[in-house]
Symmetry: C2
Subunit: 261 residues, 2 copies
C-alpha cells in the first residue's frame, strides 16, 4: 500500500479555505498534484504557492488522483460534479451545511472533510489545533481521511452530515454573529469618535474566559444582573432601530436563560 | 509634594473589580490603606491579599486618605455616599454608565476611574493593556488620576461621562452579547452531544481577526454572502423561538449593513 503522504491530491477551488488547506498539506509533507479554479488568475496563483499544476476547466482535471477535495462555495459543488470526469478516487467536500449525499448520484466513493474555522483573505491559519470533522461512505475511506486529517491537526472527529449541520449552525453564532456584535460595538464607538482599538483587550478577555468557564458561567453585565435602570439608559442611547431591537431581544434572552437554570 | 506611590488609598468594595484593581495597584508599588466591604468575609479576604486594614461600616472609613475608590455596584454608590464621613480626598467610582455628577451633592473633589474590562471570579486581570478612562472636576485631580492610571496601564484616556455611557454600551455588545452568542452556540452543541471545546479555535480566530481587520471586513458566513438556502436550513434546525428570532434579526442586520456600504 502507498504511504499516505504519497497520495495524489487534487484541490478543487482556490479561495481562502482551499489556499490555507493546500498550504497546510504542503507543510505536513503532502504534495498537491493539481489545482482547479474557474479563473486563471486564482488557479495559477495558488498553484504557484504550492508548486502544483493547475487547470481552469473541470473536464481537464486528472483522472487518477487518490482524493479530490472540493473546497468551493456550496452552490458550486453540483456545478463541478456535473462536469467532473469519471474517477475512481475519493471525492470530499469541505462544507459545513452540505450533506455527504450530494455526491451519491455521481460516484460511490465520497466523504466530507470539514475544518471548523473561519478563513479570511490574507489570514494564515495553522491547522494544528483546528478541529477537523470527517465522514465517508466506505470504512477504508474514513480511515484514510482520518489519517490525512490527523497529519494536519491533533483534533479529528468523525461526524455525520446530520450532526455537522448543527455544528455549522453553532459556528454561525460563535463566529459570524459574534463578529456582528463587534460590528455594532464599533459603530457606537465610531459615532462618538472613540478609537475602536480600546475594545480589543475586552474582546480578548471575553474569548479567553471560556477556556476555563462555560459561557453561561462567564456572563456579566446589566442583562444577567437584571439591572433595568442601565438597560433603560442604554436603550435611550441607541438610535438605530434594529440595534435597539437586538439589544432588547438579546438582553431578554440572557435573562430567560439565567432564570431557567 | 508627596510622591504618587505614597498616596493613601481607600478601596471601597471587595468584589471582582475591587480585588483585581487592588492587586494591580500593589504590584505597581502602591499601598492600600483600608478596604471597606459590607461583609466581614469579603472585607477581610481582600485585606489579607493586599495586606491592608479593613472596615465593614462606612462611617469607620478613614478620613485622611488621598483617594477613595468606589469599586462597587452602581446601585451601591449612593448608599455609600449617604453614610460617608466628610473627607477632603478625591472620590472616584469605577462604573461605565454612572455620571461623574453622582458625587456633586456630597463633595467637591470627585472623578471617575473606569477600566474597560470584564472581571470575573478567580480571573486574574493584568492591567498593563487594559484601557483606563478617567475624568475629574479639578484639573489637578485629573492629572493625579492620569498618573495613577498610567502607573497601571499604558492605555489611559480622558473621557467625559457623556461619552463613557456610549463606551459602556459598546462594551455590552462586544462582551456580554458576544458571550451570549457563545451561550447559544454551546446550547446547540450540547443538544447534539458535540463537545463545546471544538468551538474554541474558531472563537479565538474570530477575536484575533479584528487585530488587523475592521469587524465589517472580518465578516464571513451565510448572512454576509446572502446565502438564503443555508439560512433557511438553519432556521429549520432551531427549536427555541427566541433563538430563531435572534438568528433572523442578526442575519437581516448583517445584510443591511453590507448593502448600505
Amino acid at each position: 500500500m502507498k504511504h499516505i503522504k504519497d497520495s495524489k491530491i487534487v484541490m478543487i477551488g482556490a479561495g481562502n479555505l482551499a489556499t490555507q488547506l493546500s498550504i497546510n498539506l504542503i507543510k505536513a509533507g503532502f504534495k498537491i498534484a493539481q489545482v482547479y479554479s474557474r479563473t486563471l488568475e486564482s488557479a495559477s496563483s495558488l498553484a504557484d504557492k504550492i508548486n502544483s499544476g493547475f487547470v481552469t476547466f473541470v473536464p481537464e482535471i486528472v483522472r487518477d488522483a487518490d482524493i479530490y477535495i472540493l473546497a468551493v462555495k456550496d452552490d458550486a459543488i453540483v456545478d463541478i460534479l456535473n462536469e467532473m470526469p469519471q474517477v475512481k478516487g475519493l471525492l470530499v467536500h469541505t462544507a459545513g451545511s452540505v450533506s455527504m449525499n450530494i455526491f451519491a448520484s455521481y460516484t460511490c466513493r465520497y466523504g466530507v472533510f470539514y475544518p471548523l474555522q473561519t478563513f479570511g483573505k490574507n489570514r494564515e491559519i495553522s491547522f494544528g489545533i483546528v478541529p477537523l470533522f470527517i465522514e465517508a461512505v466506505e470504512k477504508e475511506d474514513e480511515k484514510y481521511l482520518f489519517l490525512l486529517a490527523n497529519s494536519l491537526s491533533e483534533k479529528v472527529y468523525i461526524l455525520s452530515s446530520e450532526k455537522r449541520k448543527y455544528l455549522h449552525l453553532a459556528a454561525v453564532f460563535a463566529c459570524n454573529f459574534t463578529n456582528h456584535m463587534y460590528v455594532l460595538a464599533s459603530k457606537i464607538l465610531e459615532n462618538e469618535h472613540i478609537p475602536w482599538e480600546v475594545m480589543i483587550p475586552l474582546i480578548d478577555e471575553t474569548a479567553r474566559k471560556i477556556y476555563t468557564l462555560s459561557p453561561e458561567e462567564a456572563q456579566t453585565g446589566p442583562a444577567v444582573r437584571c439591572d433595568r435602570e442601565i438597560m433603560q439608559k442604554h436603550l435611550q442611547l441607541i438610535e438605530n432601530e434594529t440595534t435597539r431591537e437586538l439589544y432588547k431581544l438579546i438582553s431578554k434572552n440572557i435573562n430567560e436563560i439565567v432564570n431557567n437554570e
